[in-house]
């Protein structure tokens, strides 16, 4: 477990809570004479989050100090660089998939995304990957559009 994440996260949260409180004060009041407007609840939440983030910062700081005293951080599960690379490729292709979905259609993007990520996971049996990816993208598209009457972006619109 890394306390750096906790620390960074607590500072982010503090910033978020300040921003949230500021935004909450900008909310306009109710038009009619209700005593509790739409402001109070978010305002309260912002304040509570601010306090909690301070508490989190204090806790993680205390733990980090204790660790420095006892020496050596507790063993954490290290992520190997190959796994990280795989993850980044899949994440990147997922983002590209989402970005191009409406532009070049569901079937092509899904097929490409699946092919890339299957092969990224394990670089074997390209034929199987292509067959499964094609089967999934075509199958989902036709089931959804013809059987269930839904609509998905089909092919690129030029």
């Amino acid at each position: 477990m890394s306390y750096t994440f906790d620390k960074t996260f607590s500072i982010t949260l503090l910033a978020l809570s300040i921003l949230f409180i500021f935004q909450a004060t900008q909310i306009s009041d109710s038009a009619y004479g209700s005593t509790v407007g739409p402001k109070i609840f978010p305002l309260g939440l912002g304040i509570i989050l601010g306090l909690l983030s301070l508490q989190l910062f204090y806790e993680s700081w205390k733990k980090a100090v204790r660790e420095r005293v006892t020496g050596g951080p507790t063993t954490s599960s290290k992520i190997s660089s190959t796994e990280l690379k795989k993850f980044l490729i899949i994440l990147g292709s997922a983002l590209a998939y989402v970005f191009f979905l409406e532009k070049i259609g569901y079937m092509i993007t899904t097929f490409l995304f699946l092919c890339i990520s299957f092969q990224t996971m394990e670089r074997t049996k390209l034929i199987y990957s292509i067959i499964i990816a094609a089967g999934f993208s075509l199958g989902v598209y036709y089931l959804f559009t013809s059987l269930l009457g839904g609509s998905l972006p089909s092919f690129p619109i030029f």
Binding site: M1, S2, F5, D6, F9, L13, F20, Q23, A24, I27, S28, S30, A31, S34, T35, V36, G37, P38, F41, P42, L45, G46, I48, L49, L52, S53, Q55, L56, E59, S77, I79, S80, E83, K86, F87, I90, L91, A94, Y97, V98, F99, L101, E102, Y106, T110, F113, L114, S117, F118, M121, E122, S129, I132, F136, V140, F144, L148, G149, G150, L152
Partner: protein, 508 residues
């Protein structure tokens, strides 16, 4: 009409052919979800909401809601069955709620008694399902009558109690759990305020006007988060499937496990009804209880049948018990029930005391279908357990990308917006980071579902009292809920300070 009459109507609904099919599909998918490590009941249910929403799109709203909730609930309790299979055969629990089953179940499998263990687990789960069902039938009416007397102040405090209970038990650090709760509540305030019609935190973006969709967040945090985790942290796959010789248990096994099943079912049911304490805690408690009551406690851990029968009954009973606060009070006590509640709200059906009056078809249909679903699981699991165990051999290479593709398809099919898809992927990354750093995700989703209702009830209560906050303390029931809520948060804290170990609930 009497309860029995309602129940009969419920069976009439549940026995319609499409609902039978939905229950069957639900329990089969649930078993698969339970068998596969890496996909828990929460992500399974979240992933299937959009799919069921599209399948049921042609039906009238109420029928559609009934059918999809039948399927989703089937996934929920089906996963409890499936989780035991891999615990026993592979020593790898498919769910956190079947961790204790590995202790004795795997030992039994090693001794060549895998079949007995599996069938006892299935029988135990079935009995527990029936116990939970009876409890639900008995408690549904009185509880919803009681809840009808609640005003906004009571509701506000009761929901706070629900949140407090889930946060108090949700993880190693209460601070982190509370942070997640508050973040969920904050996300719930985005959009147009339901009372005054004023935009809040939308920054003028039209796609934020209707608020942040709960479905996107849930699928992202749970399903994608778990997929990313599996990609990044490659687990060593070890162990071979133990052989299954005979499927039916011996008479001796049945005799030995009858009492543990009964005890486990009752214990699990009551733990399930309590908010915050879910199936995982129930199975742990049941194991400890069985060990205490057993005449041969030294046999535990070496393949004692009671060590399988008790916990497996308890986790199933707990998942049934967890439906009670959801259906009668409208307050989900766990992550999975929060997702089920979100699904109901998507169909414009508000769980709560009025559910039984306004939509008896949904409520009783679900209750009846749970009975039928449990029967199906028993019938399916005994002969097909070998096939189900094979599911674990699905190569991750194909499984993980397909889960991503299904999530993206599902969210797009319901939302029709790429904005939600980007949010989905972002939530996936966050879900992984949160899980890795011990931030429990279930409270966030629960808070997101409850948030708008908490705020509405708070404002209604304050309007009644003319802005006087003491209304929450003056009303006795409301005060009681608040006191319980605070103690739920404080007692674990005090126990921790005293250096005692606190059981935590890692599943939702």
């Amino acid at each position: 009409m009497s309860t029995l009459q309602f129940l009969a109507d419920g069976f009439a609904v549940a026995l319609q052919w499409q609902n039978l099919l939905f229950a069957l599909v639900g329990v089969i998918i649930g078993t698969a979800v339970g068998v596969l490590p890496g996909i828990g009941p929460m992500s399974g249910v979240a992933l299937l909401i959009p799919v069921t929403a599209t399948i049921t799109a042609g039906l009238p709203t109420e029928a559609a809601a009934t059918s999809s909730i039948i399927l989703l609930a089937g996934v929920y309790y089906g996963a409890m069955y499936g989780g035991s299979t891999t615990s026993i055969l592979l020593n790898t629990p498919g769910e956190s709620s079947s961790v204790v089953t590995t202790l004795d179940g795997y030992q039994m499998a090693k001794q060549g008694r895998a079949g007995s263990a599996l069938s006892i687990a299935a029988i135990g789960s079935f009995c527990a399902g029936v116990v939970a069902l009876l409890g639900l039938i008995l408690l549904a009416n009185p509880l919803s009558k009681l809840a009808l007397k609640f005003g906004p102040a009571e509701y506000f405090s009761l929901m706070l109690l629900g949140l407090a209970a889930v946060s108090g038990l949700a993880g190693r650090s209460i601070t982190k759990a509370l942070i997640m709760t508050v973040l969920g509540l904050m996300l719930g305030t985005v959009g147009i305020d339901a009372v005054s019609g004023i935009e809040r935190f939308t920054f003028g973006q039209p796609m934020l006007f209707s608020g942040i969709e709960f479905l996107t967040i849930a699928v992202g945090l749970f399903a994608l988060g778990e997929v990313f985790k599996t990609i990044l942290e490659k687990e060593e796959e070890d162990g071979q499937l133990a052989k299954i010789n005979r499927v039916l248990p011996t008479k001796q096994d049945l005799k030995d496990s009858a009492v543990p099943i009964a005890r486990g079912s009752l214990l699990g049911f009551f733990i399930g009804v309590l908010p915050g304490a879910g199936a995982t805690l129930a199975s742990f408690f049941s194991y400890i209880t069985e060990k205490k009551f057993s005449k041969t406690p030294e046999q535990f851990g070496k393949g004692h049948i009671a060590g399988v029968a008790g916990p497996e009954s308890a986790n199933n009973a707990a998942s049934g018990g967890a439906m009670i606060p959801l259906l009668t009070l409208g307050i989900p006590g766990s992550g999975t029930t929060a997702i089920l509640m979100g699904a109901l709200i998507m169909y414009n059906i508000q769980p709560g005391p009025l559910l039984f009056d306004e939509h008896p078809q949904v409520a009783w249909g679900l209750i009846a279908s749970m009975f039928i679903g449990n029967l199906m699981l028993l019938a399916l699991n005994m002969p097909l357990v070998r096939i189900f165990a094979k599911i674990i051999e699905t190569p991750k290479k194909y499984l993980l990308p397909i889960i991503i593709a299904i999530s993206i398809f599902g969210v797009y099919a319901v939302q029709f917006a790429t904005f939600d898809l980007f949010l989905l992927v972002a939530c996936g990354v966050l879900g992984y980071l949160f899980a890795k750093n011990d931030y429990p995700v279930a409270p966030l989703v629960l808070a997101l579902v409850l948030g708008p209702m908490i705020e509405n009830n708070m404002r209604r209560a304050l309007t009644i009292s003319n802005g006087d906050f003491s209304i929450f303390i003056i009303k006795p029931l409301s005060l009681l809920f608040l006191v319980v809520a605070i103690s739920w948060l404080l007692i674990p804290l005090i126990m921790k300070i005293r250096g005692k170990n606190v059981l935590i609930n890692e599943e939702g």
